[in-house]
């Protein structure tokens, strides 16, 4: 039984570490602010959730588990709030999501689109 709990929590912690890394790789590699926020939310929800689930299995039924649940619930509530505030602030500041047609216009010969030059720096 002890071995089973250890194995399960180890698998959960490894999966959480993987998703944390994946989310941050997405933050570095995504082309746009809004897609970067999408990638960052993977770290906030799935990575933290799996990691803390593994910690809860290690801690057993105690006050530590209660604190972990509290932190996890706090993350689950504050993540969408921060995402909403950030996306609304970026939208009000004039940043628009990069759409598929923007990308196809960029592939055309230079000089056809006046506003295509400054978009290139957003990568």
């Amino acid at each position: 039984m002890e071995l089973l709990v250890d194995l399960l929590s180890g698998a959960l912690i490894l999966a959480g570490s993987f998703f944390i890394c994946v989310g941050m790789v997405g933050v570095v590699r995504m082309p746009d602010l809004f897609t970067r926020m999408h990638a960052a939310s993977v770290t906030d929800t799935l990575g933290a959730g799996l990691l803390f689930s593994g910690f809860m299995l290690q801690a057993g039924f105690s006050l530590i588990t209660l604190k972990l649940i509290f932190i996890l619930g706090f993350l689950f509530f504050t993540g969408p709030v921060i995402s909403h505030a950030l996306s609304q602030a970026a939208h009000l500041a004039g940043i628009r999501p990069q759409l598929a047609e923007d990308r196809s216009k960029r592939l055309e010969p230079a000089g056809t689109e006046a506003g295509s030059g400054d978009r290139r720096g957003a990568d």
Binding site: S9, M24, G47, L51, K67, I82, L86
Partner: protein, 91 residues
């Protein structure tokens, strides 16, 4: 196992730092700062289990609260240029 999680979180922290340095707009940097705060929270919890001292979790709770307040404050500051901005006074 905890050491692997700590190393993964440190690698992720360095990636978030890359985005904070590179980010073209200020909002990318705010996003990176928020991610760094969340990763610091996770690292605190992991180090608590790594060293067998669960008291670190209290510090992690504090970091979670400060992360929310700090991000909202930075966004409000860059929107209005003033932390005490009140929309009803201006209109």
């Amino acid at each position: 196992m905890f050491a692997i999680a700590a190393i993964a979180i440190l690698v992720s922290l360095s990636l978030a730092l890359v985005r904070a340095v590179k980010g073209p707009t200020v909002f990318d940097r705010v996003l990176a700062g928020n991610s760094i705060g969340t990763l610091a929270l996770l690292l605190l919890a992991t180090v608590g289990f790594l060293t067998g001292r669960p008291e670190w979790l209290d510090v992690a709770i504090t970091y979670g609260v400060l992360n929310l307040i700090g991000t909202i404050a930075i966004l409000k500051f860059f929107r209005h240029g003033d932390l005490a901005y009140n929309a009803e006074d201006k209109s």
